[in-house]
């Protein structure tokens, strides 16, 4: 499939057109190839958990404030 009609019916050179995309920009490449998982250091896990606890605590405060406001 060298020359094919585009969505407006105009003939396009598909290989030349697709060359303007980097190989990992293709939809299939994005679907099939994923970045490998990295392992977290204990310090990183600690910071992640600390921020998670911070968020849950602060959400609790927001809910408390909304409840107080409703009263």
């Amino acid at each position: 499939m060298e020359n094919v009609p585009d969505n407006h019916g105009t003939a396009i050179n598909l290989p030349a057109l697709v060359a303007s995309l980097e190989p990992d920009q293709l939809a299939v490449a994005k679907q099939q190839h994923h970045c490998p998982r990295r392992s977290l250091t204990p310090e990183e896990k600690l910071v992640f958990w600390a921020l998670r606890i911070y968020l849950v605590f602060m959400f609790g405060i927001v809910i408390y404030q909304v409840w107080m406001g409703a009263r």
Binding site: M1, V4, P5, D6, N7, I12, L14, P15, A16, L17, V18, A19, S20, L21, E22, P23, D24, Q25, L26, A27, V28, A29, K30, Q31, Q32, H34, C35, P36, R37, R38, L40, E44, V47, F48, L51, R52, Y54, L55, F57, M58, F59, I61, V62, Y64, Q65, V66, M68, G69
Partner: protein, 468 residues
Amino acid sequence: MSPPIPPTSPSAGTLIHPATAVDVVITHEDIDRAHDRDRVWQTRAQRGLWSRARLLWLLIGPGILVMLGENDGPSMLSYAATGARYGIGFFLPFVALTFLVACVVQEMTVRLGAATHRGHAELIFDRFGPFWGWFSMADLMIGNFLTLVTEFIAIRAGLGFFGIPPSIAVLAAWLVLFAALMAHRYWTWERVTLAAAMFNLIFVPVALLSHPHWHAVASALVTWKPLPGGLTQETVLILLANIGATVTPWMLFFQQSAIADKGLTTHDIRLGRVDTMLGAALAAVAALATIIATAPLFAHGMSTANFEAAGFAQALQPFVGRWGATLFALGMFEAGMVAAITISTSSAYAFGEVARRPHSLNLPFQQGKSFYLVLILEAAAAAGLVLIPGIPLVYIVLVVNVIAVLAMPPALLFLYMLVNDREIMGDLVSPLWANILALGVVVVLIAAGVLFGVSVISPHALSFFGGR
């Protein structure tokens, strides 16, 4: 491994990719994106000022959209409440500073999206695993849905000024959002939404109609006056609402995904930064104009505690005239409308990335069914909630901005770690100065959150921070 996407478009199929010499499946989405990239490469090959300007025109979009999109209903209402309650002395420079913070944060998403061609949610899941990925998604989805509700509140209130019933207003807005998707083409969607987003500057003529004292405006920007009334529970809420009006988690997800969908590469990072700064400048002008426009309410000591958007427009009428009030109400509608489009799109991108479903605005409906359904149904649910009578609208919009600030530090930590990950970023990892700025932003946001917590649990403790 997932099965390849079926080439259902008449012009899609397989070919040998010139760069890799490997037989690859080409989809409709690829061809649309390739057309956009082809125009960029052809323009880049040309010389001259006109070609430079055209290249900028081709590459702008995600940055301006994310910044003007964040000038949304709750943000504009926060700015209006700020001007009306506190005037311009402290908050003009403060809000300008928050847009600089937004630039620092969003610049990282430009590099990340251009270097990896992947969305933010996908990278978090891939690099940190589903455990942390789902936490991040929950933060995003809860925040996005609450914010979407407030966008429809702004739409309802803005059109309410013209006597349009709430049900008609939210239905019309939902239909506009639906219509913007009909092109099934990222480029068309981006240009239509950009054109709509430019109406955010409608707040500038409102500010001009309020006949501000320009000397006082210039003085406020240069001297940074103290916070009127000192640090109180109310001022802490307004401070956080103003921070949340410029930096929120959905912005990180949206801009990175939009950059990947648009097809930006590492060659485009410089203009991607220009796009972001241009967006921040335009959004800052609109935000400052809103504060200036409502400052006469502060000067005349009017109580604005229970104003909705339409209430602000009506209250402003004696100072800016009928035309000014009309523009203000239209601006509220526009702010909610554009943000409803961009925020629901950020949810749909994130869902597709995590569920490994096709996610692009270049997809025909049949191929991107789940992507479009998430977008449309989330907006429909938010629109429906707004029609419940008796909701305390102003309070909700301020609280939503506060939640955005609270959810930012964990989101920023993921971004910070990804943008410093040499395995995916290569030489594009953040330089030291950018890391110092990013960590500074995290510290400031956590400090603001803690201050809010103190103001709620023990308001008297604010005296330790110089308040009363």
